[in-house]
Amino acid sequence: MKDPTVITGVGAVTPLGNEYRLIAENLLQGRSGIRTIAAFPTDDQPSRIAGVIEAPARPAGIPEPEWDECDDFQRLVLACAVNALRDAGIWERRDPLRIGIVLGTATEMNWFWETEQFRHGRPGVYDATERVPIVQWLQSKLGLNGPVLSLSAACASSNFALSMARSWLEMGWVDCCLAGGADLALTPMILAGFGNLRALSRRNDQPETASRPFDRDRDGFVLGEGGVLFLLEGRESANRRDGRVYGELAGFGAASDAHHMVIPSPHPEPAITAMNQALDQAKVNVDQVDYINAHATSTPVGDAAEARILHRVFGAHTPRIPVSSTKSMTGHLLTAAAAFEALACMIALEGQVIPPTINLENPDPECDLCHVPRQALERSVRIAVSNSFGFGGSNTSIVLRKVA
């Protein structure tokens, strides 16, 4: 029998805070992390709001001169990684362990190329010097010994990252693994790219109410930034050192639409397949699911399509399974979105309380689900499911289980 993979450490830099307790409090209080963008001029941008992070504090164990040398992307990932290792209690004794890294990230190079332009007045794309990719940089910075991988399946990336870390653990390639996602997408060009795609909300004068998944008046998603990394290891390993266990990564499923690079398929079968694979892998029946963290980004087409998928998967049980979209509070963290939403599920598993979908004032009849509107819901939660879908037609789902 396989040793279950469990999550024993968390490091996060998010629009709702940079520390687990603060994030949990803000999430369950239904607070919005969406603001008017102040970092650069946005006068000609279609969307001028975003889920914005506060700069992470230097983590203990990283000398100040080293921290000062890091760029913003390196600080984001370094803070998440160190805090996850510390939270798991293995920071001080990481040397003999084979610790892998799987990071979902899509915009690292775009961010680098573009910020070089702002800093030096010349786009970084013209520079022949190749940036050391973030996972290799992090491996070297922390002196880790396991394999490293950065990947992108767009907004489904972190679910892939978690699954791959679990595979590496099961294959015996690593003793434990950092996995999650990080993106700094709030740059003028990336914001413009999504804006011109007509994917973003234009409620620029109402930032905190702009992200409204499943609401009749939703008009697009709100871009966000941040990172979340988890420390994954086998249950036996966690038990041996009496480590805190946030939850078990019990199942994963993935399938592609093969329909369109951006638009969700009108045929729901691939997404249904992904969800069923995850539930089968976790050996969970649909009637055992206590909470669904929906992908729901607040786009007119995507939210309704996901509602239809949930009805197909859960059938007669759909009206009793609470569903919420935490993107209503964070905006869309892109490759880090699935990692944040896994974190939201773990908060639900720990506190036995389900985070709400804020701004859900008039539920769209096309999204007829058991919503958790505006206020958190106290409820027994043993099994949580989190969906994440992405450009390129990626559909993923994970199942997280409470560990007694």
Partner: protein
């Protein structure tokens, strides 16, 4: 394949798709509808970024093409291949710097282990040498060359398919990264070595029993 499908695709995406052409007949005896695809590309989106930078400088936010995000991001080649070939298994892009070859194998092995997909198409591609845009040349010219290597990987060989068996194993070493040409030479049996270190703790090794020549 309709031209409209590839109209906005990056050169590396086109190379990845082209590189798969000889692989598909080999696996055509079985349906690969549920296969997955992993694409590793070096410095993906660089040319598009160079063009976009110039447009942004001249026109501001409205100068950025809506096709930039979907077609010039790391996941674009795998998404395009999935779409073009009708693959419903998982698709994802990996790497984007040195190490992209190794990362493609690391990802493929994990997908074969952790998902229900029967096989993974692995494609790695790069400009050789790397194309560096300039203010006067944002896009590659006719003389710029690309390398591409495409493989079909399965956990277990199937009797009706030609196959060679290798094993992938992670070690605790962190030696140098293999290039596309190194891996190609190893797979084509032109190297005497029993195993090839792919760097980042990954080793590609020959099995003793070879089923058939690929």
């Amino acid at each position: 394949m309709p031209a409209s499908l590839l109209r906005h695709s990056d050169d590396l995406t086109l190379a990845a798709l082209h590189g798969l052409q000889p692989v598909l007949p080999d696996i055509s005896p079985v349906s690969f509808e549920n296969w997955g695809v992993v694409v590793g590309a070096r410095q993906f989106g660089r040319s598009a970024q160079a063009q976009a930078s110039e447009r942004f400088r001249q026109e501001g936010a409205w100068g950025i093409s809506p096709h930039m995000i979907p077609h010039a991001s790391v996941h674009a080649p795998s998404g395009t291949i999935s779409l073009a070939l009708g693959l419903h298994g998982p698709n994802l892009g990996v790497g984007n710097g040195p190490g992209f070859v190794t990362e493609a194998f690391l990802a493929a092995a994990a997908l074969l282990h952790g998902t229900a997909t029967p096989g993974i198409l692995v494609v790695v591609t790069e400009f050789a040498p790397e194309f560096i845009p300039s203010p006067t040349q944002a896009t590659p010219g006719d003389d710029d060359l690309l390398n591409v290597l495409a493989l079909a990987l399965q956990s277990e060989p199937q009797d009706n398919l030609p196959a060679m068996s290798w094993h992938l194993d992670a070690t605790s070493t962190k030696d140098g990264f293999a290039s596309i040409t190194q891996v190609e030479a190893f797979l084509a049996d032109r190297m005497d070595r029993k195993q090839l270190s792919l760097g980042a703790g990954l080793v590609l090794g020959r099995e003793r029993t070879r089923r058939m020549a690929a």
